[in-house]
């Protein structure tokens, strides 16, 4: 006898319950004690259990247990996995190629080309001597303690992923800004992507793709980091001064002229703020993605945790901070230059 027997009796489902076969859970300790002591476990109203799936299963064996939910989900996922892979594999294959090429490229180019090259980019984007000096010292320091190749791997992954985030995120943001329906549909997805714990991304991806493929962590990073650039592109375009848009219309601009001539240029500060956020979030994710074989500084952090190598963990963590500061300052400097040219 279980607490909720009366429910099934009242509904006249006793026959269905007994016909349900052996869906019964192993006898619980509680029930065993009750049985051996030869008396019914009496339940007062204070101990009334919530009518959960397991409790209802106690009363009626045909009723599914809660573990069937997780198992069902798993089964369902495994069932569609193969057909999904058929579609997703070729679609995402270029991502693997890009990541492999970037990693190969950055590791097989001599340091005396890579470091000046990076410094040149920083200079072109920021035009700031201080920042250039900071980048030079940081990169030099990392190379000096033999963390160069790890740092470069991390950097290569971030660059590929951030580039793809912008490539897909900006058009999605533009589409959202133009259609309220599209916006209403996209925002819950973005909210979910942003609030899901980063580890959770990895679980379905591990089943879908092989852990040896770079695209596994590439997808995880892109999903996690694409959100801010989408949001801020949408916001930036929606915030463009109505009166300027009206003037553009009054002089007969087409939608395309309005988009490229007015909306995107005026939304650029916001879009760049989104790019900055996206780069920062890819950096956060690339460390977690080392769990699924992403190379770089994250691997050293993981080694520090796994082997309790305190020094390795701390130094590589510091290296990540340095990378983050470099990337953040460089993109912010670019953002400030855009702001300065637009508004005095």
């Amino acid at each position: 006898m279980a607490t909720y027997d009366f429910v099934f009796r009242a509904l006249g489902l006793e026959r269905w319950c007994t016909s349900g076969g052996d869906n019964a859970a192993p006898m619980s300790m509680e029930a065993l004690v009750a049985q051996s002591s030869g008396e019914e476990a009496s339940t007062s109203i204070w101990e009334l259990p919530f009518p959960s799936m397991d409790r209802l299963n106690d009363a009626c064996q045909a009723f599914p247990q809660s573990r069937n939910v997780t198992r069902g989900l798993e089964q369902g996922f495994l069932n569609v996995k193969d057909s999904m892979s058929v579609v997703l594999d070729p679609l995402t294959q270029p991502l693997s190629w890009m990541l492999e090429a970037a990693l190969y490229g950055i590791l097989n180019t001599p340091w005396w080309i890579v470091i000046p090259g990076l410094m040149l980019i920083v200079w072109l984007v920021s035009k700031s001597w201080q920042l250039l000096a900071f980048v030079a010292i940081s990169l030099g320091g990392l190379a000096f303690i033999d963390y160069y190749s790890y740092a470069m791997q991390t950097l290569a992954i971030i660059m590929v992923c951030a580039f793809l985030c912008v490539l897909f995120g900006v058009p999605i943001g533009i589409a959202m800004s133009r259609s309220d329906k599209m916006r209403a549909g996209t925002i819950p997805i973005l909210d979910m992507l942003q609030t899901l714990p980063p580890f959770v991304y990895l679980i379905p991806l591990i089943f879908l793709f092989s852990v040896t493929e770079p695209k596994l962590y590439g997808i995880a990073i892109i999903l996690y980091a694409i959100v801010p650039v989408i949001r801020l592109t949408d916001l930036g375009i929606r915030m463009v001064d109505e009166s300027v848009i009206e003037a553009a219309e009054a002089f007969g601009m087409t939608d395309r002229q309005k988009l490229y001539g007015v909306q995107i240029p005026l939304a650029l500060p916001n879009i760049m703020a989104g790019v900055n956020q996206t780069i920062m979030m890819s950096l956060a994710m690339v460390v977690i993605a080392s769990l699924v074989s992403a190379p770089g500084l994250g691997v050293l952090v993981l080694r520090g945790i796994n082997n309790l190598e305190l020094g390795v963990g701390l130094v590589s963590g510091l290296g990540i901070v340095l990378l983050a500061v470099m990337l953040d300052r460089t993109t912010k400097a670019a953002l400030n230059r855009i702001n300065a040219s637009q508004k005095g």
């Binding site: 007969g252 005026l266 040219s341 005095g344």
Partner: protein
């Protein structure tokens, strides 16, 4: 002066209605049957924007539409280039109803037939002054190298020589609006819409800009539709004045006529504040006669304002002047009549002013 009836009608607004709300069509009938703005809002939750507007905009005129905020004047001007779609009615430009135009035809109209100047300038902040001025040509696909000369010409014309390479934020409000005007002129459109173009400027600059507009107008003879909430400005600029209230036309006509014979308390309130001597002109208060008066004190032009006549008479009220048009007498002006015309119209008892207290 050419009579208004002899001028060509450039834009004809016919039975124009605009209702804002969820389903404007459904309440249009009530408005046609005479439901008021307040009643429509209360009973049907729709806002009456424009109520049966009929205005003829004559070619080469400055037509000023005046009213307080909420009177529908900005809504009305946006119907002329269909930035706002009407609920019912027609807007004919050179006899073609623009309400029926397709998207492509409408863009052509906005590019080639009508230009617009905005209250808050609405320049593109990321483009230089020169690029802003040349924007109408840029929109038509003319490359910068070709529109540069044209844009520079109009920048020079509005008094902005040599600032072409600066950005709008580097200019003062008055200068930014000059760019706005240069931009409108650069489109070479025959019609220029000006939405409270000078309202955001301080008084001295506003006077400058009004002078500039009148000067450009005497040279270019565009068809200008000007929106204003300032009666002095309206009287200074208008060839034809349309006064709006709650979305309908209270009175329209020659500014002088409206001043002499206001037909509504609302207008009486408006005009009770102004300097009548500066606005009224000799032709509005003279007696029409070709018989020369006894002992004329001198000749005045029909378009002189009364202030200048008072200055000439040095306050003497017994004098009589000959009024001339192109040197020929068309009437006489007794100073006593002039003084009578200056008697201020008191703010009306039931007008806005008293109800506001």
């Amino acid at each position: 002066m050419i009579k208004r009836s002899e001028k060509n009608t450039k834009i004809a607004i016919r039975n124009l209605y605009k209702i804002f709300g969820a389903d404007p069509e459904s309440v249009l009938g009530y408005v046609r049957d005479g439901m008021s703005k307040a009643e429509l809002l209360e009973k049907h939750n729709h806002v009456l924007g424009l109520n049966n507007i009929n205005v003829d905009v004559k070619e080469g005129d400055i037509t000023v539409m005046m009213g307080l905020s909420g009177s529908g004047k900005s809504t009305l001007i946006r119907h002329l280039n269909r930035l706002i779609e009407p609920t019912a009615g027609e807007v004919d430009l050179d006899g073609v109803n623009i309400v029926d135009l397709s998207g492509k035809e409408l863009r052509r109209l906005r590019r080639e037939e009508m230009s617009m100047v905005f209250q808050h300038f609405a320049l593109l902040p990321h483009r230089t002054v020169l690029e802003n001025a040349g924007m109408p040509m840029d929109v038509r696909g003319v490359p910068k190298s070709e529109f540069e000369d044209e844009a520079n010409k109009w920048l020079d014309r509005v008094g902005l020589k040599g600032v072409g390479d600066q950005y709008p934020f580097q200019l003062s409000g008055g200068m930014q609006q000059r760019v706005g005007i240069a931009r409108a002129l650069c489109s070479n459109a025959p019609v220029m819409l000006m939405d409270e173009a000078f309202s955001a400027l301080d008084p001295l600059i506003r006077t400058d800009m009004q002078e500039l507009l009148l000067e450009l107008q005497s040279e270019l003879q565009k068809t200008v539709v000007f929106i204003s909430h300032d009666l002095d400005e309206a009287l200074k600029l208008a060839d034809h004045l349309v006064i709006l209230k709650d979305g309908y036309v209270v009175q329209q006509g020659e500014p002088q006529e409206i001043l002499i014979a206001p037909n509504d308390d609302y207008i009486v309130d408006f005009i009770s504040d102004i300097n009548r001597a500066r606005v009224l002109r000799v032709r509005s208060v003279m007696e029409k006669t070709e018989r020369p008066p006894e002992n004329p004190a001198g000749e005045v032009d029909e378009n002189d304002n009364l202030e200048s006549v008072i200055a000439r008479s040095e306050g003497e009220t017994a004098l009589t002047y000959i009024v001339t048009r192109n040197g020929k007498q068309i009437g006489t002006l007794k100073m006593t009549n002039l003084v009578k015309a200056l008697v201020p119209t008191a703010a009306s008892e039931e007008g806005l002013r008293t109800s506001a207290v």
